[in-house]
Symmetry: none
Subunit: 145 residues, 2 copies
């Protein structure tokens, strides 16, 4: 499971180091694509397939389904770690999210997310306001036996 928050910088060529702790749980090849809430998402190949098993259950006759599939697949790219543990973020993925230099990489349970630092700070700032609520639910989850 992917956990933790890590700060990294794009190098001059638009590459970032994937934190070693996250790398340990990742195969050398994976899918980088658009995530929800203005971040990029890394899925393992296995998981990527799983997602499409679910998606293929949705009716392509619906506008929303087609749109979702198009965004997800058109922006997806298969990435490979180089031997320094880096990946190249394609410009067409980085640019719309304002990713230039400082990024925050987070473990998010079953996947990894890459955020522009500023965007992340604002997001988590907002989310923190409801942290106490989150934590209370948490203890409920533990107690319910």
């Amino acid at each position: 499971m992917f956990i933790g928050e890590y700060s990294h910088n794009l190098d001059a060529k638009g590459r970032i180091i994937i934190p070693s702790k996250l790398r340990n749980e990742l195969h050398s090849s994976f899918i980088l694509t658009r995530g929800l809430d203005n971040c990029l998402t890394i899925y393992s190949l296995e998981q990527w397939e799983k997602i499409f098993i679910e998606i293929n259950k949705l009716p392509t006759t619906k506008k929303a389904t087609r749109q979702y599939i198009r965004v997800l697949t058109s922006s997806a790219c298969e990435c490979t770690l180089d031997n320094q543990g880096r990946i190249l973020i394609p410009t067409n993925l980085a640019e719309p999210l304002g990713i230039k230099k400082e990024v925050t990489i987070i473990g998010a349970n079953d996947h990894i997310e890459i955020w522009d630092k500023k965007t992340w700070d604002e997001y988590i700032d907002e989310a923190d306001k409801s942290f106490e609520d989150v934590a209370e639910n948490l203890s409920d989850l533990l107690d319910n036996d």
Copy 2:
């Protein structure tokens, strides 16, 4: 069950010793994450997994679910006791709580908490004053279920 209050100092590299009395009931690996009221919490791996069994049932297509997962996972880190009984507190966890050197480690029933000493002193000072009042109201909490 974890009990007691212990004072310890971070070393130059940001590590603390987990008190030996607490260590006895702890496996060598566990999850360190944000707790309520400005402290850090240690969960066993079993407790942590239990939480995510529940969380994995929630739909990630919902905004609130994603926020919930991100708050939890990004602030978590898996810690391992080194052979002197120490763990490293990651900067991104220590800093927002003002943890620099002096910390108070307390046993809190089913988990362990790590506090900045000053924060703890103030908290317990306040809590002591209202100890009887709080106790008085506790039974109400039970009735309301």
